[in-house]
Amino acid sequence: MDFADPFFGISWLDALIRLVIVVGVMTLVVMYLIYGERKLLGRFQQRKGPSYTGPAGLFQSFADAIKLVGKEDLRPRNADRWVFEFAPFAAFIPVFVILVTLPFAQDWGVRNLGLGLFFVFAVLGLNIVGILMAGLGSGNKYALLGGVRAAAQMISYEIPLVISLLAVAMVAGTLNLNEIVLLQENRPFVLIQPLAFVIFFTAMLSELHRAPFDIPVAESEISGGYFIEYSGIRWSMFQLTEYAALWAFSIFGAVVFLGGWAFPFGLEWGWGWQLFLTIFKSFFLIFLVMWMRATVPRLRIDQLMNFCWKVLIEVSFLLIIVNGFFLYYGWSETILGLVNWAGAIVFIGLVYSRGIRRSRAREYVGTYRNPEAATP
């Protein structure tokens, strides 16, 4: 289970070099994720997005980063100094630690932990601390509201997130991320656990507070929430955290559900292809997230909590029970997959049809689809 060990067998030097590489790559990826998001949102909104700085605006993020570093680092007078100043770092550390265990290709990662999946859960719990610190330490009521919202939301959604991953772990029979990928050589787990994937994706949107769950940072309500008072380099630390977390989650989702580097024909094709597959799959997930952001409005906090506690958690427990039965009695994987697909389709269909049913929009839409129709 060892990774390749090119650095003279000195384990700490090896780890250090791997860490530095991951951090460097992560910074670059974050820069281009921001650029990509702006470009994509532009396209979704019938405009061009950044296009002046460099060819097709490619250097926009660097220019922004330089500008942000040069900005004054402001601190409100009634902020709690140490809490306020350490909050961005406290928020960043867990995301960075998650990256430690993520395998990007076979033997390409910082450390291959035997308890990789569990490690990710455990560290995810710490994700909230930085946000809470920012919310408490800013001395701002918007920040406080954002912090409370973030805490409530992230604590709640951690449960369906963990359970959906446990469902996969049950099927895989291991917590080691490398082994999970290797098990998906023939079919990714999304094919036999689609419902788990849907739950994972929903909870992931919530953990990252992206639309439609961007309640803690809701710009039109609390105008930025917990990072409202930050400026300059500390604000950019929060941005870095947000996008790094997005990337880390997407890699994680790609590894657990989409087969990582192992599907299709990954193992024999060498590390370049493997790396490409993992990154490509993660970018696909990121694209979905950005698509959601461009399309859907935001939920309200009580609706969000209702959806979590009354729908998602129940469905994920049901999923665990179904998986347990199948594993205990050793029934065929195909049937398990079919049952899961049925569950996923029913779940999404129910959520979707509810809106159309409740809106009774036809009564009004009729007035302009068919001009002569009487209004209600």
Binding site: Q45, Y142, L145, V296, P297, R298, R358, Y364
Partner: protein
């Protein structure tokens, strides 16, 4: 000025461990107060316990300025009130002056005025759809959808009047100038694009589970409440009251035209949105009829107007259906070339005065979209 309401200050107990109400200051600089509006929310957790609106940040003394400028000079002030639908404001002002002075308007000018006023209505409603989507958190997409049609209408205004937002196109007695060539063709094209825009908004928002979940059954208003609060326009039609000044107290050529008055059922935020959607469609119908029926040629300005417009003494209360509701002008003249008093009854001002009642008991996020559903324009609220 006191920043926080005095009554709430005492309840903030620093040493205790019980939860306390918190005041949040929303605005005047806030992404979703639609200009320089400010409200102080008192919240218990996420619930709004009390709300206190503050307006006046854009107060420019419109009425004082009108009293001190010539009737034709004042035009420029009035299309800066509801700056999203400048032509509607000009229309109301000019009709008030015409009513006082007894000036006749040529037929062709009446038709062109109605076309312009209804285009303004579409313009304003599209701004509402966009801004409302943004309040709900649909990150800018709805905004850009709205802006697309607005740009086309503004281009049309620019061709017709030379200016986009504040065209100053109307005159007491008619219009500044005739339409440009090829206007009808361009206008029909804009109308088809407007209908496509409505379809797009329909696809983006009305069937969306989250949109419906947020807006349905939020702050429902009964007809009695709406009448008592003085709500007008789409706000009162959302409650199911079929009341439109274009029909109830008709002016201009509206009695000629065929259009429906869309109404909602329970006056909630969703109804307010959908009534405006249907209304924008009806406006496009009105414009089509006007394009079909209007005289192809003729004067657009009454040729008998004097050089200096002196209006005989009199008083009138001229009401029109503005984009936000009843946009009326209470005009008093004393025989000179300046109005003795001109009072604007601004619909958004009256709708906004009911905000406090609607907001109390909802969540902070709801307070924002209830404010958005009022469709306020601060230029008109603050005069």
């Amino acid at each position: 000025m006191t920043v926080w309401p005095d009554t709430r200050e005492g309840t903030l107990d620093v040493g205790g461990f019980e939860t306390v109400d918190m005041t949040i200051n929303v605005g005047p600089q806030h992404p979703s107060t639609h200009g320089v509006f400010r409200m102080v929310l008192t919240v218990d957790g996420e619930r709004v316990v009390d709300a206190e609106p503050y307006i006046g940040y854009l107060h420019r003394g419109l009425e004082k300025l009108t009293e001190n400028s010539d009737y034709r000079q004042s035009m420029g002030w009035w299309d800066r009130t509801d700056y999203l639908a400048g032509m509607c404001c000009e229309g109301a002002y000019c009709m008030a002056v015409e009513k006082l002075a007894g000036i006749e308007v040529p037929d062709r000018a009446e038709y062109i005025r109605v076309i312009m006023m209804e285009l303004s209505r579409i313009n304003s409603h599209f701004m509402f759809f966009g801004a409302f989507g943004a309040d709900l958190g649909s990150f800018g997409t709805s905004f850009v959808y709205g802006w697309r049609e607005r740009e086309r209408i503004y281009d049309l205004f620019e061709e017709v009047a030379g200016d986009r937002m504040f065209p100053t196109y109307f005159r007491p007695g008619g219009l500044t100038m005739d339409l440009p060539d090829n206007f009808e063709h361009r206008c029909r094209w804009v109308l088809s694009s407007v209908r496509q825009g409505l379809e797009d908004f329909d696809g983006l928002l009305t069937g969306n589970e989250i949109f419906v979940e947020r807006c349905r059954d939020l702050s429902p208003v009964t007809q009695e409440q709406a009448i008592n609060w003085g709500l007008t326009g789409p706000m009162i039609r959302a409650t199911g009251l079929k009341w439109d000044i274009r029909r109830a107290e008709p002016y201009s050529i509206y009695p000629h035209l065929k259009f429906e008055i869309p109404v909602g059922r329970q006056g909630d935020v969703f109804d307010r949105f959908m009534v405006r959607m249907a209304e924008a469609y009806q406006s496009s119908r009105i414009i089509e009829q006007c394009l079909d029926e209007m005289p192809r040629s003729g004067l657009v300005l009454n040729p008998d107007l004097p050089t200096t417009l002196r209006v005989p003494a009199g008083e009138c209360y001229l009401r029109t259906e503005g984009t936000k509701g009843e946009y009326s002008v209470h005009a008093i003249s004393d025989g000179s070339n300046k109005a003795y008093r001109m009072k604007l009854r601004s619909p958004a001002f009256c709708n906004l005065s009911a905000l406090r009642e609607m907001v109390i008991g909802t969540y902070v996020a709801d307070a924002i979209i209830i404010l958005g559903s009022l469709d306020i324009v601060l230029g008109e609220v603050d005069k």
